[in-house]
Amino acid sequence: MASKPRTLYEKIWDAHVVERREDGTCLIFVDRHLVHEVTSPQAFEGLRMAGRPVRRPELTLATPDHNLPTTARIDAAGQRLPIADGQSAQQLSALEQNVAEFGIRYFNATARQQGIVHVVGPEQGFSLPGTTIVCGDSHTAAHGGMGALAFGIGTSEVEHVLATQTLLLQPSRTMEIRVDGELGPGVTSKDLILHIIGVIGTAGGTGHVIEYRGEVFERMSVESRLTVCNMSIEGGARSGLVAPDETTFAYLKGRPFAPQGAEWDAAVAYWRTLHTDPGATFDKSVVIDAGTVEPTVTWGTSPEDTAPITGFVPAPESFADPSKQDAARKSLAYMGLEPGQKLAGLPVENVFIGSCTNSRIEDLRAAAAVLKGRHRAANVKWAIVVPGSGLVKEQAEAEGLDRIFTDAGLEWREPGCSACLGMNPDKVPAGERCASTSNRNFVGRQGPGSRTHLVSPAMAAAAAVTGRLVDVRELV
């Protein structure tokens, strides 16, 4: 008997059901768990209070990223430098104590492998196709770019995973986002995902897992797929994924935690079955023509507030929904913008190139290609480049990208989440604009009163050298 055609999501879900309860809730096995310093201390404390051990310590990988300063971590003599902020130092030392006490693999603050959890997982081959991957961070969706079912969880769920290696979940609905055709010159995966969120809205994917399908994703590098899947949560979807293919396998081969030898062949044979079957149906489907996507920027305080760089700040009255009109009015007041203003030409005082969305080597190369031979504009007061991991940093330095950044007047930092969330000292001052390659333009996200414009790495570099939002296609 032929089995019912299934989507990629349904295949991964079915393979991870430990038990199905009568009420439909499923106990789902977790293959990979990433831990960082901010959302884990209360989970470890919970285990300690209840006297519970970690069930499968080898399936969890920990590294600090959110709160760690991105300034130098060791002095000239190789000694580790203290963290100035007492609370941040305490949070880091809590993580170090917890991983030691519970026997969890740890890349410490000065290790070459340290970095943003969502950069480290794929880079280490820890994130594999067909696995379930969770982390106490909503951008865990990124690992869907490896063909994994990956999603963010809260701290109570972190504790649940540590104690049981499972989660109690309801199955999600399925959503297909199909993009065929070809992205134009200067248009990147970041522009595409910003455009997609503009189309579906920040609640468009709520309750759904998105599968990105079509020629554009098939041709994309793994790093670009990670960028797209990363921002699925900005469209409301807890997970987004791309079917694994030869590009994925080539990316993974030889990475430290990837299968080796005969097991590699067995793994690839299994991974080749991980695709949506012909005839499988999705609960929701969105089709986008790649040719219509332009370099995209945000103008408001929600990631759905997107427009092409060739466009204008919209009038709040142009939205049909009265609550959206109200939100747009508040956004424009916060952002210091007027309806009808051209987006190209808006002056920016800050530039941030980094975050789990855009801090991999491909992103840094794209930024460097624009920055090479140019210099930071006089009105840009603060411009930093924060690599996603120590290994990305090494690679960039081996290619001479760090020199391109510093010659252009940008700062070259240590790996971490940095100005994406305004938690460590890297913040955007109140009332100032930042062209940022991160993922959220929420009120106060990059610091109280900060005004964020989300862009691609190439567009951020273009902003750094012109001192304004500008169409990068005019510079290349």
């Binding site: 709160n67 290696q165 609550s323 938690m423 959220r440």
Partner: protein
Amino acid sequence: MEPVRAIEGRAIPFGLKNVDTDLIIPARWLKTISREGLGAGAFEAVRAEPGNIFDDPRFAGAPILIAGDNFGCGSSREHAAWALADMGVRAVIAPSFSDIFSGNAFKNGILTVALPQDAVDRLLAVAQTDPVSIDLESQSVTTPFQDRFSFPIDPFRKDCLLRGLDEIGLTLARDAAISTYERRLDAAQPWLVRGTALSA
């Protein structure tokens, strides 16, 4: 967890849509290693404005918050649920919630009540002057004016809330089933464990 049955009292008529968890609790408050005391940072950016609704004495200690569509979007930080709990909020009423936030709220005994926009609009109006009641057993929201709105809830979550169950304890009781699954997985995909084995 304390059982949750009925929640009754004043409701803060906030009404904003797309309330993200950065707005509920900004990142600088996330440096704590405790679950306690986060109410002080709740809605910090909103509270910076004079005359804001959170500092309105009519709503001091209100156990219910009413908001717009897509409440709790963005970051997975459970600190948002801890901050609301610390403010005294025990239920949020909105047309829809982000998936991660509703899970976090549930695990902290905060009820997320999804109602159609017109019902939410009515409750926003009532809340200006009068209390609102939520009954979990009957899955209904009522007002002193004979309004009655039914809301859906996942049966598993409802049962856990009514009985105050510890989810980890429930799952640990399924240890045998998890072990069986692990053996099957090790046989089918041996590379998953081999790649990550910790040296002794």
